[in-house]
């Protein structure tokens, strides 16, 4: 092989190595976790109508996002689960507690990239205002996540 051929082959190898390294780095690069202010968010239906509580809470806590009714118009989507358990007779009689037990977990994902950019779960053993309290906790933390990034 001539000198030029050797140089070309070495250069080609270096180029391939550089490209593969760059691709590998891109694959495992940390995702951009920023949620822009005014982002269009679609709240997917959650069991027990929790999505409605969430929408109200987002409005009440003045979270800087825009809620849209159509998923196609949205940049982000909120999905999740919620569970509510009313105080049983035993809880009322034995523990003297009338408040319900609330559990919820939500995740905010980027629709285009399919990446989950934020998630939060809440557990309230004796929730004074039931689902409203847990939804407002979610909204409060979402607001903090947007404003503190």
């Amino acid at each position: 092989m001539s000198y030029k051929g050797k140089v070309l082959s070495v250069l080609l190898l270096l180029f391939v190595a550089a490209v593969s390294t760059a691709l590998a780095g891109e694959k495992n690069a940390p995702p951009s976790q920023k949620i822009p202010k005014g982002a269009k968010v679609f709240v997917a239906p959650i069991a027990g109508g929790y999505d409605n509580y969430l929408k109200d809470a987002i409005a009440k806590k003045k979270v800087p996002v825009e809620i849209v009714a159509n998923r196609d118009q949205a940049d982000y989507e909120i999905t999740g689960t919620a569970e509510s358990q009313k105080a049983s007779t035993a809880k009322k009689v034995i523990l003297g507690n009338w408040h319900s037990r609330e559990e919820a977990s939500i995740a905010l994902s980027n629709i285009k990239s399919s990446e989950v950019v934020w998630a939060y779960s809440v557990h309230e053993e004796a929730s004074t205002h039931g689902k409203k309290s847990s939804a407002e906790a979610c909204a409060k933390h979402l607001k903090e996540a947007i404003e503190n990034q």
């Binding site: 495992n28 689960t81 569970e83 977990s105």
Partner: protein, 193 residues
């Protein structure tokens, strides 16, 4: 003598009731953990794999290690590269959301995606929640639930299960949230940072 009997009878009744209402899964899981530990000890002593009625089963690559509240198993000390894309499959009761929130809360360097086709790894599993009954409230004074969950991580390219973890929490103060965070905490151990 008669007064002693009178004193003993409520104590005995309370003891019987306590044994009757004490959650069976908790007792059984404790005994299972003890059994597995004993099997591991025996295996260590004899240098043979621990057997539970399946003596002819081939030796597994899964290494298990007891943790504070659950069982952890990894295959050949497998590791997940940081910021790998992970898909969390739906789990009955919406437990997948608690795992996702746990991953974020425990700052696990993984990227969770909602599209399975874009993922490198998949987390799947089962979970179960048992609410406190009246007897538990009356005798123990606890309204916390019992939580148990078991998850596994599989490599979507090869289809191999590389990690498994199960958690059991008696009197979980934060319910599913605690179990989800326990899973996330142990997933973090196999992620390369």
């Amino acid at each position: 003598m008669h007064s002693r009997k009178l004193l003993m009878s409520p104590v005995l009744t309370a003891l019987i009731l306590y044994l009757a209402i004490y959650p069976l899964p908790a007792r059984s899981s404790t005994s299972q953990e003890n059994n597995s530990t004993q099997n591991q000890n025996k295996a260590a002593e004899t240098g043979k794999p621990a057997s539970s009625g399946q003596a002819k089963e081939p030796a597994s690559d899964i290494k298990s290690a007891p943790t504070d509240e659950g069982q952890l198993a990894t295959v050949n000390n497998a590791k997940i590269p940081s910021y790998s894309k992970v898909y969390v499959a739906p789990i009955p009761g919406g437990f997948e959301n608690y795992i996702i929130a746990g991953l974020r809360n425990k700052k696990v360097p993984l990227t969770v995606v909602i599209d399975r086709s874009k993922a490198d790894y998949e987390i799947s599993g089962v979970s179960d929640s048992e609410k406190a009954g009246w007897a538990k409230m009356l005798f123990i004074g606890s309204q916390n639930s019992n939580e148990q969950a078991s998850i596994k991580i599989s490599d979507l390219k090869t289809g191999a299960v590389i990690f498994g973890y199960s958690v059991h929490k008696t009197n979980s103060v934060r319910g599913k949230q605690s179990a989800g965070e326990a899973c996330a905490k142990h997933i973090k151990q196999i992620v390369l940072e």
